[in-house]
């Protein structure tokens, strides 16, 4: 369960969002500039809310009244960025193992094999990141976030930089991930169709505020791709 109730001022723009995500996948929907990434950065701990509260399960990650702000490296929240952000000086395999090494977790062969099979990246392990296609980069980024054994996975428009053919290539992996990994996810997108296929609940964000919240169909009922704003 993810509980978020935050306020953050960013220049002239304010983000003020409150919701409780219960399902396996909570969708965040909104046009670009609506404040989705700021919100996700707050959940990851990269951005500190001015006021508010963030908790995953029973663990409080931010509570400004109690003076709690857990730094990102102690949150164990996997984050898949739109631009993948693979480490260019490391091989694919070293990228995948980075989170495990940083958290001092012993190498778990079975878990690694499961993730590598799930994402179909076994053939890429020895490659340098510069030799990967856009879709491959996103799959490796997903694997890297999963292998740190996160308690929550944040996906910030992971298909945003891909063309429609590549999107169709990755979407089945995301569905398998949802059904097989058992890790709760927050999925950010400005594509209602992606969210209808993936998310149980959707938070619709407009200009930093919650405009609608509920199950995917009803929250996205008023939204068509052309009129996303």
């Amino acid at each position: 369960m993810l509980r978020v109730d935050v306020f953050k001022k960013l220049g002239d723009f304010t983000v003020e969002v409150k919701f409780t995500g219960e399902g396996r996948v909570t969708g965040l929907f909104g046009s670009s500039g609506a404040g989705k990434t700021s919100l996700v950065n707050m959940i990851a701990g990269l951005l500190k809310p001015d006021r508010g509260f963030i908790a995953v399960g029973n663990d409080v990650l931010d509570d400004t009244l109690a003076g709690i702000h857990v730094p990102p490296y102690r949150r164990r929240i996997g984050y898949v960025f739109q631009d993948a952000r693979l480490f260019p000086h490391l091989s694919v395999s070293q990228n995948l193992n980075y989170g495990r090494r940083m958290n001092g977790v012993a190498y778990d062969h079975a878990h690694q094999d499961r993730v590598v099979d799930l994402l179909d990246i076994g053939k890429l392990l020895a490659r340098r990141t510069g030799q990967l296609s856009g879709g491959e980069r996103q799959r490796v980024a997903l694997g890297r976030a999963l292998l740190m054994q996160p308690r929550l996975l944040l996906l910030d428009e992971p298909l945003g930089s891909l063309d429609s053919a590549r999107k169709a290539e990755i979407l089945p992996y995301l569905i398998r991930l949802r059904d097989e990994s058992g890790v709760p996810m927050v999925y950010v997108s400005h594509d209602p169709n992606e969210l209808r296929r993936l998310a149980a609940q959707v938070v619709v964000i407009k200009r930093g505020r919650v405009a609608a919240f509920g199950d995917a169909e009803s929250a996205l009922a008023d939204v068509t791709p052309q009129f996303a704003d």
Binding site: A44, G45, L46, P71, P72, Y73, R74, R75, R76, I77, G78, Y79, F81, D83, R85, L86, F87, P88, H89, Y98, G99, M102, N103, R128, T129, G130, Q131, R144, A145, M148
Partner: protein
């Protein structure tokens, strides 16, 4: 012409030793300062920035004299170090290394600072979400990606240290076998009637050392740039 005498070899090897020690000892400090200047805003930053570049603009003889006053046997720091740690700088090769390290520090710091500034902070954010504490982010992401700049700074610093003359001769004099580096030896040879041939030999040696240093740094930088692009 190419028969380098034992005395000349002594000067060459001493220069290499002084240059290497100066560069290796100065590099960790250079990285720390470069990182502070690249990543933090703090009170008095412009003063620190200026102080580092001071040796580049001050007359070298001034730097050497200031070193003599502070790190000499009777100097505030030099006296303490000699009494407590047995570390003597005045008229020793260690003093030459200290002078070279300080004179070359601006050239060492600048490329490191620029390359740290060029590291994509979004990669550092990604590392922190993967569980890396700030010092681990620095060691596993920032520093490896800034490596071309670190190597360039080290080579530039080394080349400057090898060629340093004014501050060194002022601080530790020109003692053959102890503080007489290539530059000081060439200077001495130009002051004696038939020193031309020997001076030219040392000029040749210093050109060769500088060329090797530059080619090596280029090679490292190319490799590191390839790494940076993930190929």
């Amino acid at each position: 012409m190419f028969d380098i005498s034992p005395a000349e070899w002594t000067a060459v090897l001493l220069s290499l030793k002084v240059g290497l020690v100066a560069t290796l000892v100065a590099t960790p400090f250079g990285i720390a300062i470069a990182w502070l200047l690249a990543r933090y805003h703090f009170w008095g930053k412009s003063v620190v920035d200026a102080a580092i570049y001071l040796p580049l603009v001050l007359p070298p003889v001034v730097t050497g004299y200031l070193l003599l006053l502070t790190f000499g046997r009777k100097g505030l720091i030099g006296g303490w170090l000699a009494d407590h740690l047995g570390l003597v700088f005045a008229f020793r090769w260690t003093g030459a290394a200290l002078a070279c390290g300080i004179m070359s520090f601006p050239l060492l710091v600048r490329p490191i600072r620029l390359s740290i500034e060029a590291v994509d902070r979004r990669l550092e954010q990604a590392a922190s979400t993967l569980g890396a504490a700030p010092w681990k982010v620095f060691l596993t992401v920032t520093l490896p990606l800034a490596l071309p700049g670190v190597l360039a700074g080290m080579v530039l610093g080394f080349a400057k240290a090898i060629g340093e003359f004014g501050a060194t001769i002022t601080f530790v004099s020109n003692i053959p076998g102890e503080t007489q580096t290539i530059s000081a030896a060439i200077y001495t040879l130009t002051q004696v009637p038939d020193g031309d041939a020997a001076a030219l030999r040392l000029v040749g040696v210093s050109i060769v050392i500088s060329m090797i240093a530059l080619v090596t740094s280029e090679w490292f930088a190319r490799r590191a740039t390839q790494r940076m692009h993930g190929t």
